[in-house]
């Protein structure tokens, strides 16, 4: 497949494009707190999925999920008192965000606070808070709801809280894009730095929707795995025996900044963001277009944005949800775009280990792309024992492999048809 690529990679049409680099990363998932710990787990092929403990799931079709367990605030970023006023998704965002800022070495509050943005994606924000609030309303009447309800429920408070904590006074918003929220937030942060409007952005995604209403409703859509007896084997992207995705929770956050800004302050550069593509299937409320046109074009745009051809991509972190519709569609879209290169590029779905963190997934997976590039390791797709015949690419089955990707591509596709693809490049 041939196409015209821009002469100057990474430059906007008006010629003012700034290069955008990753200088800080943080995450909390069902595999633990911190990028190092998570990377060790995914490269080792460890599943974080287990029985639901956050509520009594005994009457639910699905009784398993990827819960963030134990002391997830390892570094003590939030006082126990402050937690009372934060929904779980906000707590995750604060922990991952604090880790990312710490990792970046960026001094806060910033000297030029209006050139620092916070953009955070979340699919459903404080759903647990809303569910508890509805219960209070119904059992105790309309005068007993907590004044904290609204602040804990709405999605734009996660970026708001981070702005307050770090003194970032520039553009600030939540991105609501279901399973593509995190990737879309990173893409928009990339654009806003590239365009020169800000120098720094704290960005990523956060989600905490292992709640009764969420699990019951995803069950009603027949979207979740009910492999309750074997939780660790439940998320099995591209495997013929999969039976749906496994819901999980967590947050991934990155500090992005212009190359000039990062260089000026002597920051350590983990990698560069060089491409972003976003589309919509315009097809169906929850089903992806089986022909994968939206996914194809999101990847195409991201590659064109990066100024590279498909054969230069050395790793694809697939959306790979472990649903039949997604896995087939994504495989087809990759084949259509990559042509012969489709069978050579190592692909994996880290959701086989982390489960599907909805609005946080894309952010965590972009970080895994950075880690893959930095360490020369492609993490596996675990539980790939009996490949779906329609899924015949190299999904790095069950065991990590050593490769040396210069470019990695991260895909995120949402209910609603939204697609976001991000291209990450080795620093230098």
């Amino acid at each position: 497949m041939t196409r015209t690529l821009r002469e100057h990679p990474n430059s906007l049409e008006d010629g003012v494009g700034h290069r955008v680099v990753v200088t800080g990363m943080g995450m909390v998932t069902c595999l633990g707190s911190g990028v190092a710990r998570n990377w060790e787990a995914v490269r080792s092929g460890i599943s974080g999925i287990g029985p639901i403990t956050l509520f009594d799931a005994s009457q639910f079709i699905t009784k398993i999920a990827g819960e963030v367990r134990g002391t997830f605030d390892v570094k003590g970023h939030i006082s126990p008192k402050a937690c009372r006023r934060l929904d779980r998704h906000q707590q995750f965002a604060l922990i991952a965000g604090s880790d990312a800022i710490e990792d970046s070495g960026f001094t806060c509050p910033p000297e030029d606070p209006y050139r620092c943005a916070v953009i955070v994606g979340s699919g459903m924000g404080g759903l647990q808070t809303i569910e508890s609030g509805v219960e209070v309303l119904q059992t105790k009447g309309p005068r007993k709801n907590s004044p904290l309800m609204i602040l804990m429920a709405v999605i734009n408070l996660a970026p708001g809280i981070l702005a307050t904590k770090y003194g970032f006074r520039g553009p600030n918003f939540g991105v609501v894009n279901a399973c593509a929220s995190g990737a879309t937030a990173i893409g928009e942060a990339f654009r806003i730095i590239q365009s020169g409007r800000v120098d720094v952005a704290l960005t990523g995604g956060t989600e905490a929707v292992i709640t009764p209403l969420s699990v019951a409703s995803f069950n009603a859509l027949r979207a979740l795995s009910s492999r309750n007896d074997e939780p660790e084997k439940a998320s099995r992207p591209f495997d013929a025996d999969r039976d749906g995705f496994v819901i999980s929770e967590g947050s991934g956050m990155l500090v992005l900044e212009s190359l000039e800004h990062a260089t000026r302050r002597g920051a350590t550069i983990h990698a560069e963001i060089v491409g972003y593509g976003s589309t919509d299937d315009a097809f169906h409320a929850v089903m992806p277009d089986p022909e994968g046109k939206g996914a194809y074009h999101a990847m195409r745009m991201a590659l064109e944005d990066a100024g590279i051809g498909p054969e230069q991509i050395g790793y694809i972190n697939a959306h790979g949800t472990s649903t039949e519709l997604n896995d087939k569609m994504e495989t087809l879209a990759i084949k259509n775009l990559f042509g012969k290169a489709a069978h050579k590029v190592p692909i994996s779905s880290t959701k086989s280990m982390t489960g599907h963190m909805i609005g946080a997934a894309g952010a965590v997976e972009v970080i895994f792309c950075v880690s893959a590039i930095k360490t020369g390791t492609i993490p596996p797709t675990i539980n790939l024992e009996n490949p779906d015949p329609a899924c015949d690419l190299d999904y790095t089955a069950n065991k990590a492999v050593s490769r040396n990707p210069e470019y990695a591509l991260s895909n995120s596709f949402a209910f609603g048809g939204q697609n976001a693809s991000i291209v990450v490049k080795r620093a230098g």
Binding site: S79, K81, A82, R84, R85, R143, K144, N145, S146, P147, L148, L151
Partner: protein, 81 residues
């Protein structure tokens, strides 16, 4: 401090993230000394109502200044019922 007063101090301490419980005196003014803002006050009212099973109107809240005022208010309300 009697039992009720201790419970009141505990609730105020729970709401005010930046205040140590040891620094809350019965004569501390909730806004001026402890730095409570409007959201903190609403939060305290909701917790007090829940803890002591009563309803507090916004007019009644306006008359309350110190931690002691809160305890006295609750005590009187409990006597009345």
């Amino acid at each position: 401090m009697d039992d009720l007063e201790k419970r009141v101090v505990d609730l105020i301490a729970e709401v005010l993230v930046d205040v140590n419980k040891e620094n809350i005196q019965m004569n501390s003014k909730i806004v001026e000394d402890l730095g409570a803002e409007s959201l903190d006050i609403y939060d305290m009212i909701a917790l007090m109502e829940d803890e002591f099973g009563l309803e507090i109107t916004d007019e009644e809240v306006e008359k309350i200044q110190t931690v002691q005022d809160v305890a006295n208010f609750i005590r009187e309300r409990q006597k009345a019922s």
